[in-house]
C-alpha cells in the first residue's frame, strides 16, 4: 500500500493525458507559413493562424512590405474568422525570422510551422 501511496502524488496516466491534451490545444493555434507556386518562378507566401485580435495586421503588413520589398495583402479566410497575410514571393524565411526574433513578435519557434519544399 505504501508504495502505491507514494505514487499517488504523480499519477503517470493523468500526466500523459494532460500532455496530449496540451498538444491538441497547441496544434490548433499553430502558425502556418505556406508557399504556393504561381506562374513561372513566382510564388506566394501565406501566413495563417496569426491572432488578429492581438496584433495589428495593418502595421505588420506595412512592415513586411517595407522590409521584404514585396507587396502583400490581408485576405479574409472564409471558413474561420481569422485573416491570412499574403505576400508576394517566397518570404517564408523572412516571416519566420520576423515572428521569432526578439525585436518583433518574439514567438516560440515551436508554434510556427513552415510548409512547402
Amino acid at each position: 500500500m505504501s508504495i502505491i501511496e507514494n505514487l499517488k502524488d504523480k499519477d503517470p496516466f493523468a500526466e500523459a493525458d494532460d500532455d496530449s491534451g496540451e498538444k491538441v490545444h497547441k496544434s490548433q493555434d499553430y502558425i502556418h507559413i505556406r508557399i504556393q507556386q504561381r506562374n513561372g518562378r513566382k510564388t506566394l507566401t501565406t501566413v495563417q493562424g496569426l491572432n488578429n485580435q492581438k496584433f495589428n495586421f495593418d502595421l505588420i503588413i506595412k512592415h513586411f512590405k517595407k522590409k521584404f520589398a514585396c507587396n502583400g495583402t490581408i485576405v479574409p479566410e472564409s471558413s474561420t474568422h481569422k485573416e491570412v497575410i499574403q505576400l508576394q514571393g517566397d518570404q517564408r524565411k523572412n516571416v519566420y525570422e520576423f515572428l521569432t526574433s526578439k525585436d518583433f513578435l518574439n514567438m516560440d519557434a515551436k508554434t510556427i510551422k513552415v510548409h512547402g519544399f
Partner: protein, 252 residues
Amino acid sequence: MFKDLAKKKKKSKKPKEGEEAETPAADGEFDPSALKKKKKKKPKTTDADDFEAKLAEVGAVEKEDAEEEKTEEPIQEGDMEKGTGIWAHDATTPIKYNNLLKRFFTQLHSHHPDLASTGSKSYKIPPPQCLREGNRKTIFANISEICKRMKRSDEHVTQFLFAELGTSGSVDGSKRLVIKGRFQQKQIENVLRRYIMEYVTCKTCRSPDTELNKGENRLYFVTCNSCGSRRSVTAIKTGFSAQIGKRKRQQG
C-alpha cells in the same frame, strides 16, 4: 613492525577508533572485546606515525598510478584500430574504461552501423525521380516504390505532398504522380523527409517500422511494430490557398 605494535597497543587503538568513530578512545584494558579488537586490528593498522607514512605511501602510489595512466593514454589511443600495442591480443596491461568504451563504439560503428545508429539515420528510401512534363507539370515517377518502402498508402502520401506544396495533381496510367508546378528533386525530397518525420518514424524509439491506421473517430494512429507504442498523428490539412490566376467573375 610487530614489536612496535605490541608496545604501542594503546596508541594504535586511538587512531583506529578515531577513524571508526564508534567507540570512545579510552576503552579500559579490561574490556575483552576491546582487547580482541585491538589484537585483530593490530596487524592491519600501525601506530599513528606509521599510519601516516602509509597514507603518504598510498598517496604516492596513487599519484604514480595516475602518472602511469597519463603516460599510457596516448599509446592506447594510437593503437586502437590496428589492435597492436596495448590492444594486442596478448597484452596484459590494464586498459582504462574510457578507452575500452571508445573502442567498443568505434568497432560498433565500423562493423555494425545498423546497431549503432538511430533508426531514422539508417532508414533509406530511394531518391524520388522527378521528370518534367511540359513546362508546368512535374512527374514524380517512383512514388509507389517509395510508398511501398514506407508502408504507407499512395493516397496518403499524395495528399500530404499536395498539401505541403500547395498544388494539386493527378495520378497517371503507370501509377506516376503528376504534380502541377515546377518542382526539383531536392524539393520533393525535403517534403518526403518531413513526411517521414511526421508519419513514419516512431517518436519513442525512432524506428521506421510503423503502421498507419485509421483509428476510431477518423483519427489516424501510428503504431510502432518494434516498441509497440501508438500515437495519434495530425490529419493532413491543406489550409488556406490563395487564388491564383484569373478571378472568377463576380456575380452581378
